[in-house]
Amino acid sequence: MARMKFLCDAERCIECNACVTACKNEHEVPWGINRRRVVTLSDGKPGERSISVACMHCSDAPCMAVCPVDCFYQTPDGVVLHNKDLCIGCGYCFFACPFGAPQYPQAGNFGSRGKMDKCTFCAGGPDADHSAEEFKKYGRNRMAEGKLPICAEMCSTKALLAGDGNIVSNIYRERVVGRGFGSGAWGWGRAYPGSVSN
């Protein structure tokens, strides 16, 4: 089976934030939460680059390791999903996550955390595929429809790539060879150790 991965080509991302918006729209993400964000580095200076980041679906996922109720699971595709029925909103996955992916809607008047929400690689959750509960908790399940994540599918410059890790890295390698620079597959060393040398 394919190992699903994200890759953001920093030489192509133009910081349009359309991936953020598309994700929010597709999954009807709760108010105040963005499953994806775009970060601009060296803004306005030579060497400015933008990177779109969400959950990277790590091989050895820190969130899975620290969760006190063990609510995470990894699909055979390598996608890291969680069960909101088990989640207690403790915030530990956010403490451990390198990419700042887990977010919590505010649940109480004292700022306590609600159930964690994060990118699902458009693969829903443990509820039945395409059920109303699944959509309410995790958003649309595009993977079950045979589609890839909406953020990458609609990326106007094709900076954001999502899909089988081997195909994604081949596309990226061709680009690097073609333009002669830009070999920083951002986040891959962190998320998928041992699978890439950059």
């Binding site: 934030n17 953020v20 963005n34 994806r36 964000r37 775009v38 970060v39 601009t40 580095l41 060296s42 803004d43 200076k45 030579p46 060497g47 400015e48 680059r49 990177i51 980041v53 820190p62 390791a65 620290v66 969760c67 006190p68 109720v69 063990d70 609510c71 029925d85 088990l86 989640c87 207690i88 909103g89 403790c90 915030g91 530990y92 956010f94 403490f95 451990a96 996550c97 390198p98 990419f99 700042g100 977010q103 004292f110 700022g111 306590s112 955390r113 002669g180 620079f181 830009g182 070999s183 920083g184 951002w186 986040g187 060393g189 962190r190 950059n198």
Partner: protein
Amino acid sequence: MMLHRLIAAIFFIALMLVSVTTINAQSVRPPGNAVNQSTDEQIGTSNTLGPDSQSKYWHDLRQGKSGLSTTGRSGGLLIQAQGEQWRLIRKNYIIKYSGWVLAAVLVILVLFFLIRGKIRLKGGRSGQTISRFSLPHRTAHWFMASIFIMLGLSGLILLLGRTALAPLIGKNVYSIFASAAMQGHNLFGPLFIVALVWMYYLFVPGNFFKMVDLKWILKGGGLIGGHASAGHYNFGEKVWFWAVAIVGLLISITGIILEFPWLSANLQLLQISTIVHAIGAVGLIAFALGHIYIGTIGMEGALDSMTTGDVDVNWAKEHHDLWYEEVTGEKSATHDQGETGHAQVYSQDKITGV
């Protein structure tokens, strides 16, 4: 001929236009006060790639370099590098060793009970009692005790439940327990601070260390046998008091930080807080197990001081002889007859006050 002239005129006009635009382009110069950026730092392939080499750029990101972001609560931080350390400390040290430490303390207490047995009153109960703890003291103690047990149990469920409980009762049931534990922990947590301040205020007199405590240590507190003199509080009780006061303060501060995450946007502070909170709490729970043991099944007559507040006269003579002498003015018969020098020390103690 007309056509030739027309073509020549068009060509001439076109040439004029081109030359005008060329001149315009050349006249677009930086103003006189403009500063040119130094080209010395530009190592990259072109200006657009910036001054840093590729490897330095990505290395900095890995170490936690921040950018700008208009969306998302993590802001411009792309990789927070200390999360992995936090995970390792929590999984490999705190969760692993806290379980072993608490289990070891329980085993030691059971072994101690089997070998040493209950520490009996040598003279039996006299029937006469002496007042040890007032009603406010006992109320503060049990207020603290009930909150401590409640917070300790809920905290241990959250810390060790995934390893110890979830495999037994299943993830779904355990999740309900954990959710209740977390909500209860957060709800009753602030009361711990109230109990701590109240208890500190009532119990701090008499809990400062004195020379007699050194003798108590040298005699092993009389746990193994023999007699160690003590005032109102012995050395063990004093250490327990200060452990609760100091570690309790640390747990309170870190607990407030963790309970209201919006107080600080500093993730590192939250991570350190969970570590300090867990280590401190497990230490106090281990200590509390010993305290509960010696206060209940470990020693005859000890529990009375926290139930009725009145202890048997013989208990006072055997375990807190200096305090007994101070309160009653009588000389306690329990200390060794050979050591005549003791009486002198006691009277000095009385003068300085406990």
